[in-house]
């Protein structure tokens, strides 16, 4: 039915579309309801609640331009802070719901612009910008699978979404969740997980508190896993998902990947510190033309692209005319005139006065 509705909308859109300026449409309709936009996906904050000592869960209602998600995916969320849109990626923590509501759990990051804003300042009713959901964590929707989820810190969020979806699908097969956190105060969803473990015999839960005052446990290691899961010879039937910081995921991969049926992982790591003055090859993805190039980080992106035989639009070559501006989807760049670095996803980038600090994705 939703397909039919969107096709009808499509016909109407095709007829009036050429006459509509999206900004004008959004302005007038926005006087009635600010989430009624021509084509921009937005989400309204419906609820904000504390999830742990340093994390909040936001329940959001996307408008009709958002296309939905699969459990375990992430999305880019943006809020305007001091006049600037700041966008970061968060995992969706709830399962897909019939009423279209979604939830994210935001852990406070020291100095994190958006996480602090979402933890402290965002108001119920406020609109946030959202992009299409993405992410490849895949979990079989049905089938008798012996599953093992390994979560560390905020790595719990996509796995929580998958756990909820698994329980809602009738808990096929079995699922074990091992969840490392520093302390009980930092555990997210503890009550809900414990309740599920009590009610559902096919769900086993191990909460691992590494800095607990009474009984601290170690970070992930082989003996610990054997104690929880049984001898490693019996692991070959397991399908494993691991989420957490890079080091955690690497360790889990080393121990489990050779011994289990399937191993998938997602690492949340702050970008590795860059050796800024170092000139080295970087990979630049040109998303619109579906190409990927290796460029030197030592010169302006415009010159580097031209050296590869490309001819992106350009003009003054001194940063003033904005002819060479393109959207930067991801990655860090440095302004060659001011030395400033910038890593905001979706920002407008002047190719002629910026160089790549690492791998980039551009809308070219």
């Amino acid at each position: 039915m939703s397909t039919l509705a969107s096709e009808r909308g499509g016909l109407l859109r095709r007829l009036v579309g050429p006459l509509v300026d999206p900004a004008v449409f959004d302005f007038w309709l926005g006087l009635l309801n600010r989430s009624w936009t021509w084509d921009r996906p937005l989400a309204r904050v419906l609820e904000r609640r504390a999830e742990s000592a340093d994390a909040v869960t936001l329940v959001l209602k996307p408008n009709r331009h958002w296309r939905g998600f699969r459990a375990g995916q992430h999305l880019n969320i943006g809020a305007e802070i001091d006049g600037r849109r700041v966008t970061r990626s968060y995992s969706l923590s709830d399962q897909p719901r019939a009423d279209g509501r979604i939830a994210i759990t935001v852990k406070r990051v020291e100095g994190g612009k958006l996480s602090n804003y979402l933890c402290d300042q965002v108001r119920v009713g406020e609109l946030l910008s959202i992009d299409a959901a993405y992410g490849d964590l895949h979990w079989p929707a049905r089938g008798e699978v012996a599953g093992l989820f390994l979560a560390a810190g905020s790595g719990i969020t996509p796995l929580m979404s998958l756990t909820r979806a698994w329980a809602a699908a009738g808990a096929p097969g079995s699922l074990t969740l091992i969840y490392w956190a520093r302390s009980a105060e930092q555990l997210c969803y503890a009550q809900e997980l414990r309740a599920l473990a009590e009610a559902q015999p096919r769900f086993r839960l191990h909460l691992m508190l590494t800095q607990d005052a009474q009984a601290p446990v170690a970070r992930i290691h082989a003996d610990q896993l054997q104690a929880l899961l049984g001898p490693s010879e019996d692991w070959q039937g397991l399908q494993v998902l691991a989420c957490g910081p890079g080091g955690f995921v690497d360790t889990a991969r080393q121990m489990l990947a050779p011994r289990v049926q399937r191993f998938q992982a997602e690492a949340f790591s702050p970008a590795a510190p860059l050796a800024l003055d170092e000139v080295r090859p970087v990979t630049v993805e040109l998303r619109r033309s579906g190409r990927s190039l290796t460029l030197s980080s030592g010169e302006s992106l415009l010159s580097a692209l031209e050296a590869q035989g490309l001819r992106p639009p350009s003009g003054c070559r001194m940063g003033i005319c904005h002819s060479c501006v393109c959207t930067k989807h991801e990655g860090q760049v440095q302004n060659l005139q001011t030395g400033e670095r910038e890593a905001e996803p979706g920002s407008q980038l002047r190719l002629c006065v910026n160089r790549a600090c690492g791998d980039l994705s551009l809308d070219l």
Binding site: D82, R84, H322, V325
Partner: protein, 373 residues
């Protein structure tokens, strides 16, 4: 006429001067935030509401008895003209420069913004943002010197056709948006030696222009007049006059920016080894300001601060008013002439140029205006 009121600077002085301008830019850019975002959104609101008021007054007026009709027609036309002026000047021109790109708001992206004028923003980015702002007042590179129609400087070649330019100038003013729309199509070349290539290029580049022209004409001269039914002519004439008023106003402001008596123009040679500091220096010498207050600043899209706009074309225009005293003070210390005056005084000088250079004239001095210190 080409005698510079700006003293020559040594290379070191020029670089120090440039560094001071650069520092002002850095300080302003670092301070951008919620205030600037609020400003441009308020400007957007002004454009939308004045357009609504203008179109509503014209439409309602069409059904009222004559004396009321005239009052509504005048108010509606003025309101619509105000909307178009602010849309073109303070909103469109500034947003298309990328001044508000830092906000990350998709509705204020310089690369995608479209405005209420027949010229496409795409062509504007090329003729204005790139050519005019990079090669400001350089003969042979900046097409804005007389727009290929008028002879305003003695360095431009005189032909007998120039004798009629006081007449063309008025026609050009009334049709200014059309001049801007076709500036990048280089129609003059259709009759030149490269006419074959020019025709092929026109077929390619002309399509988006015709689309935009069609859209604008449809909106102002068909759709809204038809919506008024029997009041078709009331709305039609109101829209025509609103567009015309906008043309006259934008022409006046833009001509005051680079064609007053004391502005300098340059030969292509200045580009040789031109540094950023030298570029700043050239921008100031080629531009002139208008003194006035908030209303003039807003209606002129802050081109009343033409000098600041040419130094910092991608810094939000609402900041020019606070940058101007600093620029002026820096100029004073370095002996750079800061050209400013009231709108009537500056426009009077423009009119004088149009009249004077209709007749043959010769540059007074031929020295290069570059810093060779």
């Amino acid at each position: 006429m080409n005698k510079s009121l700006t003293r020559q600077l040594s290379h070191e002085e020029l670089e120090k001067f440039g560094a001071e301008i650069e520092a002002l830019r850095a300080k302003t850019v670092a301070d951008l935030g919620a205030r600037d975002a609020r400003y441009i959104r308020n400007i957007y609101k002004l454009v939308r509401w004045s357009e609504l008021a203008g179109r509503a007054l014209l439409m309602i007026g069409a059904f009222l008895p004559t004396p009321w009709l005239i009052g509504f027609w005048i108010l509606g036309t003025l309101s619509l003209a105000l909307s178009k002026i602010v849309d073109n000047m303070e909103l469109g021109h500034n947003v298309i420069h990328g001044q508000y790109d830092w906000m990350g708001d998709p509705h204020f992206k310089g690369k995608e913004f479209e405005w209420d004028i027949v010229a496409t923003s795409e062509n504007w980015r090329k003729t204005h943002n790139f050519r005019h702002h990079t090669y400001t007042n350089i003969h042979g590179l900046d097409d804005d010197i007389g727009y290929g129609v008028l002879r305003l400087f003695p360095e431009q070649r005189w032909t007998p056709a120039a004798l009629l330019q006081p007449l063309y100038a008025v026609i050009f003013a009334l049709m200014f948006q059309w001049g801007v729309a076709i500036q990048d199509l280089r129609l003059g070349q259709l009759f030149g030696p490269r006419r074959k290539a020019a025709r092929a290029e026109l077929r390619r580049a002309g399509v988006p222009v015709l689309k935009k022209v069609g859209r604008q004409l449809f909106k102002d001269y068909l759709l809204f007049p038809l919506l008024a039914g029997p009041g078709f002519l009331v709305v039609f004439t109101g829209n025509l006059l609103a567009n015309g008023l906008r043309n006259l106003w934008t022409y006046t402001i833009i001509f005051c920016g680079h064609f007053t008596t004391e502005v300098e123009t340059f030969p292509k040679g200045v580009l040789k080894n031109e540094t950023r500091a030298h570029w700043y220096w050239r921008q100031i010498r080629g531009s002139s300001n208008l003194s006035g207050g908030f209303v003039l600043n807003t209606l002129s899209g802050n081109l009343s601060h033409q000098i600041e706009h040419h130094l910092f074309p991608d810094v939000p225009a609402n900041r020019y008013v606070e940058m101007a005293p600093v620029v002026r003070e820096i100029c004073k210390r370095y002996g750079v002439h800061y050209n400013t005056g009231s709108l009537p005084a500056q426009f009077g000088q423009v009119i004088w140029r149009i009249l004077r250079h209709a007749l043959p004239s010769r540059p007074r001095a031929t020295r290069l205006a570059g810093a060779r210190g």
